[in-house]
């Protein structure tokens, strides 16, 4: 985190600062004159919101942490339709949640610039999967830019706003962990002061009943064919180097390619694709015609490779195209210069100066005496107490559907509470299904922020269809895992202002749950007896384990505790 986020507000074009990729996005938002910013925090995207929340007032920007990514995208899209440049950011799995709105929003189009930043997490550093969100741009038919470093993240964000306004389309900027969490030198540009427009009614464009949707789909395809012309001219698609060997790459992999070429000591022409949707088909054809062999280097899925092969089939049949479909590069995990060099050297038949496989082998000896150090719950964490209560109350027999957050770490021994964990809010639905079959008590475990994010439909379903399980809500009064952002249960907004506090127990009752209790996990005996009573209910039960995270800043805790004192517990 920047020591002083106000740096991002400096109106000093030409200034150079060492910024995280995410902070460069925040700076880009300031320069682009973004009026509305929304996000649901998630690694590796969180610092975009953390930075903007701290400078919102100074930037004259409205910043909110939304309850989930779908809501966040909708709030930002609404603001765009009303004439204000808007930005929403999320981790890659957040786009799964928001995709329903995104795909149809592309039909409707937007008004003032609207950009979605998706931060992917190759290697699952802090995620439940490593999906490749470039496919969302393809699926939704929206332009997508992919930066390879923090400077480009800032530059491309600004370009994304311009493209969005030119075509009245949502535009995506796809980051990955090694861009979001890379700190590099970023040169500032001028800060635009932008006027906010006004909402213009146009229901034929914006009300997606079938008759309008059919027409707007055609309009979207026309916009994308215009985009194809834009990307052919884009400065973000560029060729460097010389030779009859061609490398086609994008984003962070571009960096690995340049270092790998140096490691092997060969030259090649490198086409860096910055506009990953739509691809610059003309430029790629021309590039293919200028080389004898083309190697596609990209992390995760063969997104470029498949499309490049299709382009070659039309325009450069004689050029051999190799990549991960031929097994030269892995389809999982993140790349490194060594991994790319190993793949390239297999293809060109020349060994790198650095014997990557040998190094890995030697390091494996050291690894063999190195005990693993998995992440774990902090000393004094209230979740540890909650898990202990759950274990004792269920007498070790419970089947537990857990959820996304710090408390997912409770699945590890010695706590061992958590038998399945898939996605945000899935605990409620999964617990319901488990309870239909197993005869053991079923417990769902969810955190406070995740409860608001996506578990409510599951909870209503549990009440409506009378699923018999206990939903344990571990309420530590913050979104701890992603950096302690506030949520509706804290009564504080993203910018630290006191707002309406939404009580989890009130919501549970409103969802139709009859048995709702609040316990303090540190009051062990009473918490165990409540939990036992909950397990013996004939329908769904909710037990809220409330105690603040040990890592919450003292001043924040005081505000929350004051807010708690104003309310009578259930």
């Amino acid at each position: 985190m920047l020591r002083d986020p106000r740096v991002l507000l400096l109106d000093k074009p030409g200034d150079k600062h060492l910024l995280l990729g995410n902070e460069a996005i925040a700076r880009g938002a300031v320069e682009a004159g973004v009026h509305v910013f929304t996000m649901y925090p998630g690694t590796p995207a969180s610092e975009i919101g953390d930075a903007l929340a701290q400078i919102a007032d100074g930037a004259g920007m409205y910043v909110e942490f939304s309850t989930n990514e779908k809501v966040g995208l909708e709030v930002a899209a609404g603001a765009s339709l009303a004439g204000a440049r808007s930005l929403t950011a999320m981790k890659m799995v957040g786009l799964n949640v928001a995709s329903d709105t995104l795909i149809t929003l592309a039909y409707a189009g937007v008004k003032a610039g609207f950009v979605i930043v998706s931060a992917d997490d190759p290697d699952c550093f802090s995620s439940q999967n490593e999906q490749d969100n470039r496919y969302y741009a393809l699926l939704a038919s929206i332009p997508c830019l992919e930066p390879s470093n923090p400077q480009e993240a800032r530059d491309m964000l600004l370009s994304a706003f311009d493209i969005s306004e030119e075509l009245e389309l949502p535009v995506m900027v796809r980051m990955v962990t090694r861009v979001s969490h890379t700190r590099g030198i970023v040169t500032f540009g001028p800060i635009e002061k932008r006027k906010v427009g006004s909402f213009v009614r146009n229901p034929e464009h914006l009300v997606m009943v079938p008759v309008n949707a059919r027409r707007r789909h055609i309009a979207l395809l026309e916009k994308m064919s215009l985009t194809s012309k834009i990307v052919e001219q884009s400065p973000y698609n560029r060729i460097s180097g010389t030779g009859t060997l061609g490398l086609i790459t994008s984003g962070v992999s571009y960096n690995y390619c340049l270092e790998a070429l140096r490691l092997i000591g060969i030259s090649a022409q490198v086409l860096k694709v910055g506009t990953v949707n739509p691809l610059p088909i003309g430029l790629i054809s021309k590039f293919l015609q200028s080389v004898r062999q083309a190697i596609v280097v990209e992390e995760l899925e063969p997104y470029l490779e498949v499309q490049v092969k299709a382009i070659a089939d039309d325009t450069a049949k004689d050029v051999k195209i190799l990549g991960k479909l031929g097994g030269f590069f892995p389809r999982h995990g993140e790349f490194s210069p060594g991994i790319v060099a190993a793949g390239l050297s297999k293809i060109v038949g020349k060994a790198p100066t650095l014997n990557y496989e040998m190094i890995v082998k030697k390091a494996a000896q050291a690894d063999s005496i190195t005990p693993p150090r998995p992440p774990m719950l902090c000393p004094g964490c209230p979740h540890i107490a909650s898990f202990h209560v759950i274990k004792v109350a269920a007498e070790g027999r419970a089947v537990v559907a857990t959820d996304i957050g710090c408390y997912a770490l409770g699945y590890q021994p010695p706590l061992s509470v958590g038998d399945v964990m898939i996605s945000m809010g899935a605990s409620a639905g999964m617990a319901a299904g488990l309870s239909k079959v197993t005869t053991d008590p079923v417990i769902g475990v969810v955190g406070d922020s995740t409860f608001f994010h996506a578990s409510l439909p599951g909870l209503v379903n549990a009440a409506y269809n009378n699923h018999r399980f206990v939903y344990a809500v571990l309420d530590n009064l913050t979104t701890a895992m992603t950096g302690h952002q506030p949520h509706p249960g804290t009564g504080l907004t993203a910018t630290g202002k006191v707002s309406k506090r939404i009580m989890i127990e009130d919501l549970a009752k409103a969802c139709g749950i009859d048995y709702v209790r609040v316990v303090d996990p540190f009051q062990f005996e009473s918490a165990v007896s409540t939990m036992k009573e909950a397990i013996h209910q004939n329908g769904p039960a909710v037990v809220v384990f409330r105690r603040p995270c040990v890592e919450i800043e003292p001043h924040e805790r005081a505000v929350i505790e004051q807010s708690v004192a104003c309310r009578r517990n259930v």
Partner: protein, 200 residues
């Protein structure tokens, strides 16, 4: 092993100040007029897990991560975290390692054994003979606060004379990154780290 870049792997445990140390190195290099790239890991790993940060400065560099077998320095905040970073070492790599272990849960539950310091050093020696081991925890405590292990190690790194960054740039940067009330103990820690290497 690109002569134009200086690559430092900072490896430790979440909470030890790995990221702060990396930022200080990066900012000091920026003051020096060098290009800087740092790659950090945030999020789940931070909950007491292993944290490794790649700090690169100089010119003509692209990758945010350091190539395996190419680090100029490995700054190990903890013995087994140093072992985990060895794939970045080569025969000329300087390893500066804190000898004070932080026992992981996999050892305290009896599932794994923590290696002896001798074993750790032997593994390091299979890569390089340039190894400096110091009890940075004890040095930090004596300098005023056990929380300054990261700054002790930066001091030790400065004392090797390998860094293409002037010492006053480093101390100036520390002043910009550390809250006023903790400044004295941090500057003490830096000096103590330096002395620990010089006296060896």
């Amino acid at each position: 092993m690109n002569p134009k870049t200086f690559d430092v792997i900072v490896s430790g445990v979440g909470g030890q100040g790995v990221i702060l140390a990396s930022e200080i190195l990066g900012d000091a290099a920026l003051k020096e007029g060098l290009d800087v790239v740092i790659s950090e890991i945030h999020g789940m790993a931070h909950r007491g897990g292993s944290v490794v940060s790649h700090v690169r400065f100089g010119s003509d560099m692209y990758s945010p991560t350091i190539t395996e077998g190419s680090a100029d320095v490995i700054l190990g905040f903890e013995p087994i975290e140093t072992l985990r970073a060895l794939k970045f070492a080569h025969q000329d790599t300087r390893i500066i390692m804190n000898s004070e272990p932080i026992i992981p849960v996999t050892v305290s539950t009896g599932a794994h054994r923590y290696p002896t310091l001798k074993e750790v050093v032997e593994q390091c020696q299979t890569f390089t003979k340039h190894i400096t081991v110091l009890d940075a925890f004890k040095i930090a405590e004596e300098a005023g606060s056990s929380k300054t292990v990261n700054i002790v190690l930066l001091g030790a790194l400065a004392a090797t004379g390998l860094l293409p960054v002037k010492e006053e740039n480093l101390t100036q940067t520390i002043k910009g990154h550390v809250p006023e009330k903790f400044l004295k103990e941090n500057l003490n820690a830096f000096d103590a780290g330096k002395r620990a290497v010089v006296s060896k």
